[in-house]
């Protein structure tokens, strides 16, 4: 308010200011009450709350079968897997997570046959991109739905996917 204004001007401006001020206060309180009503609605309607309490729900928790948690190699009951040691997964992996160590088996006919010795998998490097699974020509590896991967030492994250003493399944080339 400038000093040059006559008294009524100053008073009138002040009056309008006061009116506007009170109006703003009321509209603000009203808009906040509208928001509070919504909060109060959820406060009294417990059924609509969808929060799940992890880890208390570990038993009932269900992850979809496509969830990418970790690369595993399924074995059947005779301890046989489907991996031929073709190294397609190793080539497809963008960050060197998989290392296929091959050896040569002697078949009953006396021929040399390539087979895996170890399929080393570094979980700490894996980005769960699914490229190795798609690249594998014999469906030897798949994604598991595990997700609690924390361990005390990172060396525990380096895994060998094929079980000790396992063999390749008959009929997989």
């Amino acid at each position: 308010m400038s000093k040059g204004l006559p008294l009524w001007g100053r008073f009138g401006g002040g009056f309008m200011f006061l009116i506007n001020y009170i109006k703003t206060v009321f509209s603000t309180v009203k808009s906040m009450l509208v928001g509070m009503r919504r909060t109060g609605y959820y406060f009294t309607h417990h059924k609509e709350i969808i929060t799940e309490e992890y880890p208390d729900n570990r038993e009932t928790m269900h992850l979809p079968e496509r969830f990418k948690g970790e690369v595993v190699m399924p074995h059947d009951e005779k301890n046989e897997h489907r991996c031929t040691g073709c190294t397609a997964c190793e080539l497809a992996c963008p960050n060197g997570t998989i290392k296929v160590v091959t050896k040569f088996d002697i078949t009953p006919e006396g021929k040399k046959k390539k087979a895996i010795d170890k399929l080393v998998y570094h979980l700490e490097l894996c980005t769960m991109c699914n490229l190795c699974i798609v690249a594998c020509p014999s469906d030897a590896i798949k994604m598991a739905q595990t997700f609690e991967h924390s361990v005390f030492d990172r060396s525990q994250l380096t895994k060998v996917l094929n079980n000790p003493g396992s063999k390749i399944m008959d009929g997989v080339e």
Partner: protein, 381 residues
């Protein structure tokens, strides 16, 4: 220690920091309001901002250089780690660019799945932004409301793509797996819930007078400035710049769909806020058009196991949740790119922050940054 840098060409603007009574504070790199490792050096006169200098590089992973040693199938997963809230759309841009080089025609089913995924991602990204921005301004409740809806999208993604954030689902030639049998039903449920609950946001946030007073007239970015800073996405459309890549350079069949480009002429934070709210409704419109019309057929075109691009340069741009994202591939004819350049929307949008913030109060800076929707890994790459 902060050293003064000479980023701004005008000498006087840099000298501003030397005046007596000026105060320099650092916001970040570890600051909850920057949503990432962004370091802002702010010159203050009292509470008024004189200059904002973003210092980048805290999450620089040299993604462009990394891509040079990865094959055309492998490099796509890295782009999910750039703008992690629009990871599908980043993957989409890369896949389109590689397909441009390979000259393959992808099946109609894959196209529709891709658009559906893009739009779901856009909604999820805007939902997260809405919650996070309301939290920046001190309202904590909206965060949970928006995350409730976003959770449904995450569940859909988890079921079909196997991941919630870094999907790597869109690959050259189509998509990696077919959609899950529950996909259509779940998306319809989501659309129903979203349309019935979006009004809550108006009650809690948009209609709130305190919120409006903090947004209206704050962070003015004129149309000319938005163009000259290279802003794209909601940040530019809030200033009336028509820049929706889905409209002006349609890709993947967006030209056949009915949706509006949202424009606001407010040029302030509130306009940018409203753009995103209305954009979510447009995305819902696109989803409603497509969800019952997914064509039958293959989800992936037949491509060679090892992709080789012919010698040349390929560029593809898409509209992410933050603006225009571009992929530029220079190929020498081999299996890996010779050079890759990503044009990320966040970087250009951030460059306008200094201009917007000058002369306003420090408390408003958070609101301005919130409406720019900065994702720091996208800026730094």
């Amino acid at each position: 220690m902060y050293r003064e840098t000479t980023i701004v060409a005008d000498e006087n603007q840099n000298l501003a920091a030397k005046e007596a009574g000026d105060f320099i504070i650092n916001v970040g790199p570890q600051h909850p309001a920057t949503h990432g490792v962004l370091h802002l050096v702010i010159t203050l006169n009292g509470e008024t901002i004189k200059k904002v200098e973003p210092h980048l590089g805290f999450i620089h992973r040299s993604i462009e250089k990394m891509c040079e040693s990865l094959t055309y199938r492998q490099f796509i997963y890295v782009t999910s780690r750039m703008d992690y809230l629009s990871s599908h759309i980043n993957n989409h841009a890369c896949a389109l660019c590689v397909e441009k080089g390979m000259q393959v025609e992808i099946p109609g089913r894959a196209k529709v799945i891709r658009i559906l995924m893009d739009e779901l991602t856009r909604i999820a990204s805007h939902e997260l932004w809405l919650g996070a921005m309301a939290m920046d301004l001190g309202a904590f409740t909206p965060f949970f409301h928006t995350f409730r809806e976003r959770e449904l999208i995450n569940d859909i993604m988890e079921e079909t793509c196997g991941a919630r954030l870094t999907m790597n689902y869109i690959v050259p030639g189509g998509v990696m797996q077919d959609i899950h049998p529950n996909f259509q039903k779940k998306v319809k449920d989501f659309v129903k819930q979203f349309t019935s609950k979006i009004g809550e946001m108006d009650e809690i946030v948009t209609g709130n007078t305190i919120f409006q007073n903090r947004m209206k007239g704050v962070g003015i970015l004129s149309k000319e400035d938005a163009v000259s800073f290279g802003c794209t996405g909601p940040a530019a459309r809030g200033s009336g710049v028509s820049c929706d890549t889905r409209k002006i350079f349609p890709y993947e069949g967006y030209e056949k769909l009915q949706f509006d480009e949202i424009l606001e002429n407010g040029c302030d934070s509130f306009a940018r806020y409203m753009i995103r709210i209305r954009e979510m409704q447009q995305s819902i419109r696109i989803i409603e058009q497509l969800i019952d019309n997914i064509p039958e057929g293959d989800f992936q075109a037949k491509t060679k196991a090892v992709i080789k691009l012919p010698k040349g340069e390929f560029y593809q741009r898409v509209e992410t949740a933050r603006g225009q994202f571009g992929v530029f591939i220079v190929s020498e004819g081999g299996t890996t790119p010779y050079r890759i350049k990503f044009r990320s929307p966040g970087f250009s949008n951030l460059s306008a922050l200094d201009h917007m913030a000058r002369g306003s109060k420090l408390g408003d800076l958070v609101a301005m940054m919130g409406t720019l929707d900065l994702v720091i890994p996208d800026i730094d790459r």
